[in-house]
Symmetry: C2
Subunit: 467 residues, 2 copies
Amino acid sequence: MKPILTNMKALFNPRSVAVIGASDNSEKLGFHVMKSLNKGAFSGKVIPLNPGSPEIWGLKAYPFINDYADRIDLAIVVVPAKLVPGVFTECVEKGVKGIVLITAGFKEIDDPAGAKLHKRIADIVNPAGIPVIGPNTFGMINFHANLNASFTPEFSLLKKGNIALVSQSGGISHLLGFLAMRADARFSKIIGLGNRLNVDFAEIIDYLMNDSETGVIMLYMEGIDNPMRFIETVRNHRNKKPVIIYKTGSSEKSDQAAKSHTGSMAGKHEIYKGAFSQAGILLLDSAESLLDTAKAFASSEIPEGPGVAVLSGQAGPGLAACDVCEARGLKIINFEERTQQSINEFLPPLALRTNPVDMGPAWYNASAQSGIIRAVMNDNNVDAILLLIMFASANANLLRKLSEFLTEFKRSIPIISCILAPPGVWDDDIHRLEESGVIVNYPTPEQAARAMAALWEYTKIKRKNNF
Amino acid sequence: MKPILTNMKALFNPRSVAVIGASDNSEKLGFHVMKSLNKGAFSGKVIPLNPGSPEIWGLKAYPFINDYADRIDLAIVVVPAKLVPGVFTECVEKGVKGIVLITAGFKEIDDPAGAKLHKRIADIVNPAGIPVIGPNTFGMINFHANLNASFTPEFSLLKKGNIALVSQSGGISHLLGFLAMRADARFSKIIGLGNRLNVDFAEIIDYLMNDSETGVIMLYMEGIDNPMRFIETVRNHRNKKPVIIYKTGSSEKSDQAAKSHTGSMAGKHEIYKGAFSQAGILLLDSAESLLDTAKAFASSEIPEGPGVAVLSGQAGPGLAACDVCEARGLKIINFEERTQQSINEFLPPLALRTNPVDMGPAWYNASAQSGIIRAVMNDNNVDAILLLIMFASANANLLRKLSEFLTEFKRSIPIISCILAPPGVWDDDIHRLEESGVIVNYPTPEQAARAMAALWEYTKIKRKNNF
């Protein structure tokens, strides 16, 4: 398996990409792959291959790989399954560094011929040490190389960042991608593992742990053949980067379905759960919370203790956040005496001056707000801040003022926020605050609190494992 | 309390509205209330009152209520707390039918003078049977009367529908409103109860149960003085309309804070929980799930049994939905023999032809898709359908074809969906399908499954209570 890892960098960073089965016909996946390379603005060489067309997507096309004289780093394969052994043999001869095999019809089909074909193509590429993403995948995207090697051009609408998404399901990858467009989460890579000919979760983890563009690794898993190899691989990296996971198959029907869908073992959810924790992997329970948590790890510092200050523009969202915090192991601490005194000076004798703080009465007074935040930041009991602000017509200018203060004031502890307004109203301000790393923002107070709890949970798992 | 109920209809459907404390100065709440009435396109008479200005918002203004000769149905009050007793006395003399008291500084402040003032103004309006929304509220909106009697003009961006939101927190009301703009949930009324001078949850429930524009009642609660009165009121209506609730205060800190914030008892969450169930009230655990559930009740039939068919365009989202379904009391049933045969004819021998069904291979074949859906609809084991479809470049036209089929085909059981694409791509199609009542759509498969589970849970609660 070693040579496969060596070639992984070339797989994700090719200078030339051949599309084997490229097409001008929009009913063919080969069309959409060409469109993806185009939309992703890949700056390397793109070589369409198809014996039937001299030109595809305005580029000179070649019948077979050997008809193209220069080197090919990456081959994206979309021809029918029965043609794949021949194509793979040509790829080996040509010396390609990596393959994305989009074609389906291997181990995942009911017919034993599928499993046989699977083994046959593995035997062709394995000796040559060529890593293969797939079969039965939408492909992969390396955002930092502007490489969209998938049949979904729309993935190129996502922004570059440090989250790597590795998924066993195309559907969940698309789900997470489309949610991320709305949530403004930013990716380094999206990788659809498909039926993992020779690149499984373990190989990807080894690669991504040394990938400078990746800061957090999020996984979607249904079931794998060798769970222990995966667990040990992650454990060996001792949480160099956070690994977070969403695994389906907790129910009887989905467990059965996963076995049949992925052609591999799903197995008891409880066993996975324990093993994940021992490897320092954080387990999430939905696609939404997987993405929310990835976003927090991507942009936030990690709290060093469980002490949270809830600073809210309105009482209700503060209470909602407190409920989630306490249910998930965070503590709504009491402020130090000097902090409390300072808050009392800024706020009238309305209720909720203690934690959670209802900053409502100070919303017309930027210096009072910043005074409260500053005081809380300097409180030794406070490890992290939840900042919750709902738009009102009367406080429309609030966020601008608050932004100035927060951007200038160097934050020393994590701030996770729920700042929400009607669509379009505060979007640019929130976006700027997130891009400059001042806050990580969520659409509800509960999501913000859950994200904070996940960061703290991760610290606890690390400490428990002595990482 | 009887006369208060009599006047409630006039409170929400006034022909003339006086804004006591109206202003042209955007730093005053009286400005934003005027703006709301304007933005909401209220067609009745608006009378600004302010002793300092002859004209406000281009309308003739009057110094005091009695200076205005015609009748006043609704008074929205935004003057300082100390002026409220005088204003209320004038309102009684004038014969107003209802009051929205936005002003804060009554029972909720630490100072006993607040509670005293609270009692004093109650004693003025109660004998006259004038219902008061507030004090310490953003106000209320009656969408079907184009009446935005709040200080947030942006609430008028929401669409008319049959969901009534009743909330003890302005912050949570704004949160839910802004989320609803994104989720396309539609409201009959939004009511900020504030500190409930004489209109508490019980009075509102009595009113809304007979309000023809309201189909589902969603509540946000922190704590109330007389929980049993509320519970009995709801129970008396025997689930004529679904009542769903989100209550904070499950944690120690939020419970304490709620007591202090609302000036009333919050109390043990577990006690509330049991009582809610006995009254037929469905308890939700976040703002998001409260809104999601309200949306389902607003537009979907209620499943008559727990049998769900999961029809998915991609396997992963189907597995995610199954996990949620089984964890929450729904059953991923086995299809009847004839249904399974029919599905097997439409799909190739790939895995996942049993429930959950991976319809992926049929996505290029509209008649196969419709055949599968039709077969599943007619299956006696199936009480409801979850339909999960992720956009891909190659299936961009799919939704249009599917829409035609679904719209023509009269559905006999609830269909809840997660149909998701990059922002802007399928929005109009999804919107049309939702508006015509064909589906209720959510951004994740888990949310769709949770909404379905909530509908079934409600059926169970009703049956248990013999409603």
